[in-house]
Subunit: 138 residues, 2 copies
Amino acid sequence: MRESFRKAGVPLTHQRLAVYEELAARHDHPSAESLYESLRKAYPSLSLATVYKTLQTLHTLGMVSRVDSPTAQARYDAIVATHHHAVCTACGKIEDVFDPSLDRLSAPKTAGFVPAGHSVHFHGLCAKCAKTTDKKKK
Amino acid sequence: MRESFRKAGVPLTHQRLAVYEELAARHDHPSAESLYESLRKAYPSLSLATVYKTLQTLHTLGMVSRVDSPTAQARYDAIVATHHHAVCTACGKIEDVFDPSLDRLSAPKTAGFVPAGHSVHFHGLCAKCAKTTDKKKK
DNA sequence: CTCCTGGTTGATAACTATTATCCGCTAGTA
DNA sequence: TACTAGCGGATAATAGTTATCAACCAGGAG
Ligand SMILES: [Mn+2]
Ligand SMILES: [Mn+2]
Ligand SMILES: [Zn+2]
Ligand SMILES: [Zn+2]
């Protein structure tokens, strides 16, 4: 951690550490806003802009990943290893999907395209929302 | 077309027809703004808000699909059949990837998740951008 | 064909997510 | 401990999208 910053020649501030630790402690792929809400209790002087800037910095350093959500609000993840996601279309919950077979999909046959990676986005209903929908149907 | 609207009990207006036809004629997954720019030549009185509302309506009717781009700008597609995308990280170009083997991925093992579908998002450099990058390296 | 009427359009304000600006302050270094 | 480049906080600005609302039109009744 401290190491990653030194290597990149980027100062390690309290705020950066706090943002990273909070993100690493959560597994719900929070948005910048959501992280800010969690952090302001312990760090009342923290600014939302700092959270955004920090997430950008961490992303550039490869220490966090970004999940593009259909809600137009970017969601972040401290897990940078290749993995995939299952998104609930009802509540927006994003769950991790670890499945090595998904990591080795054949590259697209599009002429000239130089692939750098891929991600699989499942959509559907999470356990909780599926239950709620069931009740409605009855 | 006219049929789909009647079935849904939704009035078929000139604007809706125009937006749909323009989208169907293009294969670059345009944004609402981009469609608006194309259409305003032929329909000077068309409003950007109408394009947004129409795309929503068409999407609800299942007549267009939406591609979530990492640029925070939603991109649309008249192709609603299952298919995937290759996104250029340099210029934002979105290309279609038709590959039936990608359509049959195993559903996520996440407990309780009720899958409705999935999409594979390749990222990398399009043919044009890959060439440009090559030149820079030299 | 004409009239009615609820849904739609166009203009624009409002809103949300994100980024830019700017100045006082701090992390890293010696 | 002092220096200074870069950072953080406050806030303005911007981009994309949605809400509002009066005028208008598509589609059905007569
Ligand atoms: Mn994840
Ligand atoms: Mn497509
Ligand atoms: Zn859910
Ligand atoms: Zn490109």
